[in-house]
């Protein structure tokens, strides 16, 4: 702690960059704990009251989430009123752990970064809560669903508001739990339960990374709170340690954000109800990894190797998700692949260092809006199509669901990066940043820039494919006349209004935040304001290139999926398509590399356990029993035998004593 103190006093206020905090108690900040408390209390109430709260429980959930949003908004406004250099605030909650040399306070870190997340989580969360009221209307466990949603919101807020890595870990685990519960919400269907388990296990692997990182931090900096760790003097720490911490944090981020190589769970996670996919697996939780990396910017800045790995992971996942997205016929899985790819963009940006942090978060926010909007749109489509998710059985839905069509279209254009939609402002900045050489490595700029650019083109193709297969072309679904009973219809207002609001965000948010680099300035107290280098290509050229690729992708998709006939039965397709359909053999690779050896290891361990440990234990037992059987024969029950034994023993004892003494 003294490190921070001396550091803080020795640095002039004007130069205070990331992670200096001033404690606050008064005003709106005093009620900041309610941000977490409201949804948490609501979740507890709904779970504890059980069926008694079935009738009104979902509205309580909506209220709790909305209340959190209101508090978040008030806090945000209060923070806007402060000078930009004093926008990092600490709300002290009390001593959490006091064990010998280790002292940790529980507290909330209110700064532009966490406030951004708070607003995103509570705003999108509240919209999705409202949407869910209608979407889950027919589910008898709707109240439980809302309890879990509230639990998720509370945990996510703990995650982003924590002022130490350990408290963040609590939220980290909390969102993992909520994600598990919600993916497996319909766990009476085995594949869904298995999907939940898979997500949980993959997250565990990431969590191990975070735990190891925690241990390394504690060993290196003597604390795990942001003040101690991020405020420490990194020059005194060995490069290896910093790289280790960075890689471990990256592992954690990969697990949570479905980045390569831990991305396989995200597609299966679509087993959860669609609002869950929208909130957790598109807008918020999966972006926690990006938050972690940006929050730990001080560490990554000091560990270039780790940063490079971050960029590589982001680039790989970006392409990976994009390719997988091209082949998926399941609308939700295609969106999940897209999410994976978009988070790849964010991770890539976060790995670029100060240049990219703000853009990573920027893209995260816009993505939170348009992707959530598209997921809700997909949910609306499923709602109208009797839970059909196969895009090959959609087609021509634009006429039947106008609002869904329009809102989804807004999201589609946003993710394509068509100006002036949100995605353009954020994604284009990331591509541009990728082209800026770091540390004079021009090849990196070219490599990662081209990957980002290529990703944009592929994104355009598969998102257009998704959009056209669903809303354009001829209908491929069955009507009553055909013997089926699908009758596409628009959803109720409770569902359309959240979609509309999110669509508005998809359209305008990017422009609003980007104008005058408002968002970047807002985040500057946390991310620092990195001075821009120049990209290897002029910015205008990059924008033009991106747009060309995007339009090419969209046109290609239009020709293949809107004009020409889409077969209902998926064609065999090219090898790449076949590979992409099975997530580029990711599951097979995982099975072969991890699961099978793991199983064999476990089996041999079980065998060893049986043979050696059990054998030893049983052997000892059997030996004892055998000895007992032999010794039992001496137990005649005759008192005189016992007396004789005693006396002979005494004689022997005395003889022994005499012999020893003589």
């Amino acid at each position: 702690m003294h490190t921070l103190m001396s550091w803080a006093t020795s640095v002039p206020m004007s130069e205070i960059g990331p992670s200096t905090a001033e404690p606050v108690r008064a005003g709106i900040y005093a009620v900041a704990p309610l941000l977490v408390g409201l949804p948490l209390a609501s979740a507890a109430l709904l779970l504890l009251l059980g069926r008694r709260s079935d009738r009104w429980g979902h509205w309580l959930g909506v209220l709790a989430s909305a209340g959190a949003f209101v508090i978040g908004l008030l806090t945000f406004l209060a923070m806007l009123g402060r000078d930009s250099s004093s926008r990092v605030l600490d709300v002290h909650l009390g001593t959490w752990i006091d064990a010998g040399a280790f002292h940790l306070d529980a507290g909330m870190r209110l700064d532009p970064l966490s406030m951004t997340f708070v607003l995103l989580v509570t705003f999108v969360g509240t919209l999705i809560h409202i949407y869910s009221v209608a979407y889950m209307d027919h589910d008898r466990d709707r109240r439980r669903f809302f309890a879990y949603l509230n639990l998720f919101v509370a945990a996510m807020l703990v995650l982003v508001l924590a002022d130490s890595y350990l408290l963040m870990f609590v939220g980290w685990e909390g969102v993992g739990l909520a994600s598990y519960l919600l993916i497996g919400f319909w766990n009476h269907r085995t594949p869904y339960a298995v999907a939940a388990k898979k997500a949980f296990v993959a997250n565990r692997i990431g969590d191990i990374g975070l735990i190891v990182a925690l241990g390394l931090m504690f060993a290196t900096f003597g604390g795990v709170d942001f003040g101690t760790v991020l405020g420490a003097d990194m020059s005194g720490v060995s490069q290896a340690t910093l790289t280790g911490i960075g890689l471990m944090l990256l592992l954690a981020a990969c697990g949570k954000s479905a980045q390569f190589p831990l991305q396989s769970w995200l597609g299966d996670a679509m087993a959860g109800p669609t609002p869950v996919s929208a909130l957790i697996h598109a807008a918020t939780m999966v972006t926690a990894g990006v938050y972690l990396i940006v929050r730990s910017s001080a560490i990554f800045d000091a560990a270039p190797t780790a940063q490079l790995v971050v960029v590589i992971v982001g680039a790989i996942t970006l392409l990976f998700g994009a390719i997988v997205g091209c082949a998926k016929d399941d609308i939700k899985k295609a969106l999940a692949a897209s999410t994976m790819s978009q988070i790849g963009y964010m991770v890539l940006a976060a790995g670029l260092g100060p240049v990219g942090y703000a853009f990573a978060i920027f893209h995260l926010v816009t993505h939170g809006f348009f992707k959530a909007g598209m997921f809700l749109g997909a949910g609306s489509v499923m709602h109208g199509m009797d839970d059909q998710v196969d895009m090959r059985r959609f087609g021509g839905l634009a006429r039947y669901m106008k609002i869904t069509y329009v809102t989804f279209g807004a999201g589609w254009l946003a993710i394509l990066g068509v100006p002036p939609f949100s995605g353009f402002w954020s994604k284009d900045k990331i591509i541009e940043s990728a082209f800026i050489p770091t540390d004079g490595h021009t090849w990196r700029a070219w490599l990662f820039g081209m990957v980002a650019l290529l990703g944009a083109g592929i994104t355009s193709f598969y998102m257009s494919r998704l959009f056209f297969m669903t809303f354009e072309g001829e209908r491929r679904w069955t009507t009553k006349a055909d013997g089926g009973d699908q009758h596409p219809h628009e959803a109720s207002r409770l569902m359309t209004w959240p979609m509309i609001i999110l669509a508005i965000g998809s359209v305008g948010l990017g422009a609003v935040l980007a104008s005058g680099s408002r968002f970047v300035d807002w985040l500057a107290p946390v991310t620092g304001s990195g001075e821009h280098g120049e990209p290897v290509l002029p910015a205008g050229v990059l924008i033009a290139l991106t747009l060309v690729l995007v339009i090419a992708g969209a046109v290609l998709a239009w020709r293949r999926y809107a004009i020409s006939t889409v077969p209902v039965i998926p064609p065999i397709g090219a090898p790449l398509t076949r590979a992409a359909r099975v997530d580029l053999y990711q599951d097979a690779v995982n099975d072969a590399l991890l699961v099978e050896p793991g199983l064999h290891l476990t089996r041999s361990l079980v065998y060893a356990d049986k043979a050696v440990v059990d054998g030893g234990a049983v052997g000892i037992g059997q030996t004892t029993v055998g000895l007992g059987q032999i010794l039992r024969k001496t137990q005649t029950g005759f008192v005189r035998s016992y007396a004789a034994t005693m006396l002979i023993g005494l004689v022997v004892l005395v003889v022994a004593v005499l012999v020893i003494q003589s």
Binding site: T636, F638, V651, V654
Partner: protein, 301 residues
């Protein structure tokens, strides 16, 4: 006398000649008696030989200057404990002799081994131990041994003394509890017995006494009921079982005859016997005959 005893058996530093003589007389007797305990077939003999050992021990105590302990040995051990043993022996059957044939395999062997081994070991211990020069009890026993013992008991060991007292009380209580027998059936009192008799329809009044006639007032002669019939139950059961009962009918007939004869001879019976000059009843021979006849018959049975 007491002075001599005191001088001879004071438990001084050195053994006097008298004490030596006493030891050499008593020790073989004790060992022999102890072997009696080991070999005696009857438990009573074993107990008696143990009493011999104990009394001899009492002598030795006195000889060693432990006068108080010698007396206690006699009173407690031989007087109380061994008597208790004898009581119990009588309780569980004094006649039962103990078979010396061993039933547990190897027990005889083990027992002898243990006994002899113990003796050898004790010999070894006694042989190797270093003893101080005997101090003697002259000083400690002043003025008398009981006083010295009392001083030690009631000063240093007073708590132990109290505890031992409690132990004795507990032991007495324990013995009571252990030997207590729970009554399984309700107690039968006089009233219950009477009720039983009424229920069973037996003779309620006391049984009639046998031999109501003056000349035949013997136990084996049954009483007669008002009709002149003999009452069998008036004769003791033992005689009846043995068949030594007199024939009541015969008696009755003879008596009737005698009575009839007397009435035929007139009022001779009216005067009191004292009035008879011969000092004998007039009809004595008749009755004597009758009695003799009966007796003869009775003997002849």
């Amino acid at each position: 006398m007491s002075a001599v005893v005191h001088a001879a058996l004071a438990g001084g530093t050195q053994t006097s000649g008298a004490e030596e003589a006493l030891f050499w007389v008593l020790a073989p007797v004790m060992v022999l008696a102890a072997f009696g305990l080991l070999f005696a077939r009857k438990a009573v003999h074993a107990a008696l030989s143990l009493i011999v050992v104990m009394i001899s021990l009492a002598f030795m105590y006195v000889a060693q200057g432990a006068v108080f302990l010698g007396v206690v040995q006699v009173v407690v051990y031989t007087g109380a404990i061994m008597m208790l043993f004898l009581f119990v022996l009588m309780l569980v059957g004094v006649g039962s002799s103990d078979s010396l044939v061993e039933t547990i395999r190897g027990q005889r062997w083990a027992g002898w081994l243990a006994g002899l081994g113990l003796a050898a070991v004790l010999a070894g211990v006694l042989g190797t131990a270093l003893y101080p020069d005997p101090v003697g009890l002259d000083e400690a026993n002043a003025p008398t041994n009981p006083e010295g013992v009392a001083r030690v008991i009631f000063s240093q060991h007073v708590f132990a003394m109290e505890v031992v007292g409690a132990l004795l009380v507990t032991a007495a209580l324990g013995a009571l509890v252990l030997t207590h027998r729970r009554r399984l059936t309700p107690k039968r009192g006089q009233r219950e017995l009477a009720d039983l008799r009424v229920e069973g329809g037996h003779h309620l009044a006391p049984l009639p006494a046998p031999g109501v006639y003056a000349r035949h007032n013997a136990m084996d002669v049954p009483a007669l009921d008002p009709y002149g019939d003999p009452i069998e139950s008036s004769v003791p059961r033992v005689l009846r079982v043995r068949g030594q009962e007199a024939d009541a009918a015969e008696y009755a007939a003879r008596i009737d005859r005698v009575l009839a004869g007397r009435s035929a001879k007139g009022d001779a019976t009216n005067p009191p016997p004292a009035a008879d000059p011969a000092g004998q009843p007039v009809n004595a021979p008749d009755i004597a005959d009758a009695v003799a006849g009966v007796d003869l018959e009775g003997d002849g049975k």
